[in-house]
């Protein structure tokens, strides 16, 4: 069979692998996930979105070497030891981030491929062992094709362009060509290394996820950690880009160490294969080699040779892993199941509201996407505060310490309230008929969601406040936040009630889940606009004065209280059974 035909077959295996990985990631909520991908086109294309996101992140990191190259040529004469260090450091950060981004965005899918599961069906078809191994390799290549192309091209293109612009006339075509060749070699080696690491880690993760019950604490921990790392990495990349653009030129200009210390540091670091040797080698070719101490050159070359050895070993292991995963002889994992002895079948009842809270928590903590409910609202304002702290916002408005940064923070609070409302009500839309058949008073369901608005949003804004400690707007912001404390849950609860009004109005009651899904997108937009307008009202009162804030809080509290009781009245019945 021709390779092109096998490549076509690998498309089907690749799709199977995506579903396999997504189902594993969904954990206990696989049914909900399957329902969603049936209805939602975006959910089906999640892997493509992830591919492009990773590619964009990898490509955008190229600013690090580009700025470094400009700074190297601008400042080299002043302090060559320090410039070598700063240049190498920038390149090393670039290589490390490339690896981290590739792993973070591709690992979830890679483990689906690495589990061997998607190949089981292929074994039943008339393919020989060699064919199936090739299908395995093609499937893996398909999973990260865009990232690999971007990763191998971005450094050579970035370096060649930057060198040509920064020192084209000074260096001449021969030197630029040499630098381009070096950057291509380094880029290719780096891509192979990253790919091999991804294969090995993917297999390790597959073992963790499939050796144990897929709902084990360990598997859940992996899912949640992966999601948290996604978020942190995404934020780190953006923060690095922003900080890099601002601070990198300063790093090249100011040397905090003595020439001797810098020299020793350069020698030591240049011997370290990962991640410094590549950075030093690249920097050596960029600058005048005669100004670099010979020990640093020896160190860089030795480190680079060690790196090549490491690439060889890691690649060998990765290829063996890739061949094995598509082999029918691959060790399948029998979930370790303990025989349990249950001797205390006992019912522990609690109030319906607490029962719903416990149920919500058990769902939220076991689904990767649901865990975002708890993480996102805290991280978003923190992220906003970090960005704001760089000094972009400081304009004071009105008499209550309202600043433009605070308005931006409040915009994120609006986003949080909206995300929380949608996510918390979506818990009810899982189709679990066991709940549908229970005599549920929606009031209890909604009451179980309220603590999230009283805790998460307030924690988020208080954590964001910490990042403003050394800022001149810290105290005004803190006082305003204290005055605004009732606003956060009010905004959240209003958002929840409005969403239920739009999606859950039935003939005789309001349902928490989304029942009336017609014009869904418009309703979501309307819901967001409603919360944003409410927040704008509060921000206006903050502009006027504290008395206006407190008055508005009191009025909105009364409206929310009565709306809640109108939509979800207390139950007044006593059931009489036949039995």
């Amino acid at each position: 069979m021709k390779n092109s035909e096998l490549y076509k077959v690998s498309k089907r295996v690749y799709k199977e692998a995506i579903l396999h990985a997504q189902l594993q990631a969904a954990g206990s909520n696989q049914q909900r996930f399957l329902e969603r991908i049936q209805k939602d086109r975006v959910a089906r294309s999640q892997n493509i979105i992830f591919k492009f996101m990773a590619a964009v992140y990898i490509a955008s990191l190229v600013f690090l070497p580009v700025i470094s190259i400009f700074q190297i040529y601008l400042n080299f004469g002043s302090n060559p030891e320090w410039i070598t260090f700063a240049g190498s450091l920038s390149f090393s950060i670039f290589f490390i981030f490339q690896l981290v981004i590739l792993i973070v965005f591709a690992l979830m899918l890679s483990w689906g491929i690495m589990s061997g599961g998607p190949y089981e069906w292929v074994h039943t078809l008339p393919f020989n062992r060699n064919h199936i191994q090739k299908i395995g390799l093609f499937t893996f290549a398909r999973s990260i094709n865009i990232q690999l192309i971007v990763m191998s091209l971005v450094l050579p293109i970035g370096v060649t362009t930057a060198v040509s612009l920064a020192a084209g006339l000074y260096l001449g075509i021969g030197k630029i060509f040499l630098i381009s060749i070096v950057s291509i070699i380094i880029s290719v080696l780096n891509t192979i290394f990253n790919l091999a690491v991804l294969v090995i880690l993917g297999r390790k993760l597959a073992i963790v996820m499939e050796e144990y019950d897929f709902n084990s604490k360990r598997a859940n921990f992996v899912r949640i950690s992966t999601m948290v790392i996604y978020l942190i990495t995404s934020m780190l990349v953006v923060i690095t880009i922003q900080y890099g653009i601002e601070k990198l030129p300063i790093l090249f200009q100011i040397s905090p160490l003595t020439a001797g210390s810098t020299s020793i540091m350069n020698i030591v670091l240049s011997f370290i294969a990962i991640p410094f040797s590549l950075g030093y080698l690249m920097t050596i070719f960029l600058v005048d080699i005669s100004m670099i101490p010979s020990l640093v050159i020896v160190g860089s070359v030795t480190g680079f040779l060690l790196y090549i050895l490491l690439v060889y070993l890691v690649t060998k292991k990765a290829l063996k892993t890739l061949r094995n995963i598509s082999s029918p002889d691959i060790k399948r994992f029998d979930p370790k199941r303990k025989k349990t002895v249950v001797d205390d079948i006992k019912i522990k009842s609690t109030t319906p509201t607490r029962a719903y809270m416990k149920r919500d928590i058990s769902i939220i903590t076991r689904e990767t996407q649901q865990i975002m409910i708890l993480i996102m609202p805290i991280m978003i304002p923190v992220y906003a505060a970090i960005l704001g702290f760089t000094g972009a916002f400081t304009v004071v408005l009105g008499n209550t310490g309202l600043t433009d940064l605070y308005i931006v923070l409040m915009f994120f609070i609006v986003m949080n309230s909206f995300i929380l409302s949608v996510s918390l009500t979506n818990i009810e839309t899982g189709g679990e008929t066991i709940t549908a058949s229970l005599p549920i008073n929606p009031r209890e369901q909604v009451k179980a969601k309220l603590p999230y608005f009283f805790s998460i949003i307030i924690v988020a804004i208080l954590v964001a406040q910490i990042f403003l400690v050394s800022s001149p707007i810290f105290y005004p912001s803190l006082y305003l936040t204290l005055a605004f404390l009732p606003v956060f849950p009010l905004i959240g609860i209003s958002s929840l009630l409005f969403k239920i009004l739009l999606f859950g109005k039935l003939k005789n009651k309001f349902a928490v889940e989304e029942i009336r899904v017609k014009y869904k997108i418009y309703k979501y937009i309307l819901g967001f606009v409603f919360v944003a307008c409410l927040m704008a009202l509060f921000l206006y009162t903050a502009y006027v004065g504290y008395w206006a804030i407190f008055t508005a809080e009191a009025i909105v509290s009364v409206i929310v209280f009565f709306s809640f009781n109108y939509m979800f009245p207390k139950a007044k019945w006593k059931v009489k059974y036949i039995f």
Binding site: I347, E367, A436, S437, P439, Y577, I578
Partner: protein, 267 residues
């Protein structure tokens, strides 16, 4: 124990459409206390839609429905409090263990802890499911999930049990236990609406059977009454069902073609 109502469920001229598809079209029937009422029909006959309307999960377009003399769309909570429901797919919280699930159900239904614990022990032992009490529901087999669903529907001793293919996935012993539970339930004055495709089950346990096809009621009565309607005296329910839903000729045609095709490809 005394039966307070003469009719548990009363459905009169029920109509429900989804877009252009009429799922239930002019359906009428009654379920009396102490009877097992079978709802039979091919796929898409409208059985599950009817069951969901009775539970107040979806609203009817027109017609009258009374469950315990109440309108389920208006008094959904009161109705559900007296109903046990076993759905076709055991969609129960996969992220919970049975322990968490039954604590949840008991809390929502406000059941007595001591009494419910006793019942729970009895059901878990009867269905030989004790060892799964602390396992995550996601890791249970189809049959064990079904057992959890059945136990969940019986725990509060409902007046009316609505069961949509309750025997699916159950092993022979558990299926027998469940049939006995259904009998006991009706002996005590409770009622059962059993929606099923398995004609042997309906034949074995149902007191009266309603046959639905394309949203309409085709026939209703005891097995003997149905056989008279189908002009098939002494026939089993399968023959009666195929005759009343006009599928008997179609089946003969399919079998003829199948024989023809397979006969031409002898190995």
């Amino acid at each position: 124990m005394s039966v307070k109502s003469e009719v548990m469920v009363k459905v009169d001229n029920l109509v429900k459409s989804f877009g252009n598809v009429v799922a239930v079209n002019g359906l009428s029937f009654e379920v009396k206390p102490g009877e097992i009422f079978g709802l039979l029909g091919p796929n898409g006959a409208g059985k599950t839609t009817t069951v969901k309307i009775l539970l107040g999960l979806i609203e009817e377009d027109s017609g009258e429905i009374e469950v315990f003399g109440l309108d389920p769309s208006k008094e959904e909570v009161k109705v559900k409090d007296r109903i046990g429901y076993v759905s076709e797919d055991p969609l129960i919280y996969r992220s919970m263990t049975p322990r968490m699930l039954f604590n949840f159900i008991s809390s929502i239904r406000k059941l007595d802890e001591k009494e419910t614990t006793e019942k729970l022990k009895y059901y878990f032992e009867s269905f030989e499911a004790v060892e799964y009490y602390d396992k995550l529901i996601a890791t249970l087999s189809r049959g064990n999930k079904q057992k959890m669903q059945v136990i969940a529907s019986l725990l509060h001793e409902p007046d009316l049990l609505i069961a949509d293919e309750p025997l699916t996935g159950l092993d022979a012993k558990s299926a027998k236990v469940l049939k006995e539970i259904l009998e006991l339930h009706t002996e005590r004055g409770g009622s059962v609406i059993l929606s099923t495709h398995i004609l042997e089950v309906a034949e074995e346990v149902c007191d009266r059977i309603a046959i639905m096809d394309k949203g309409k009621l085709v026939a209703i009565g005891t097995l003997e009454e149905l056989s008279v309607m189908a002009n098939k005296a002494g026939a089993d329910l399968e023959d009666i069902f195929l005759k009343l839903t006009n599928q008997d000729e179609s089946i003969t045609h399919i079998v003829k073609n199948l024989r023809k095709m397979l006969g031409n490809n002898k190995k």
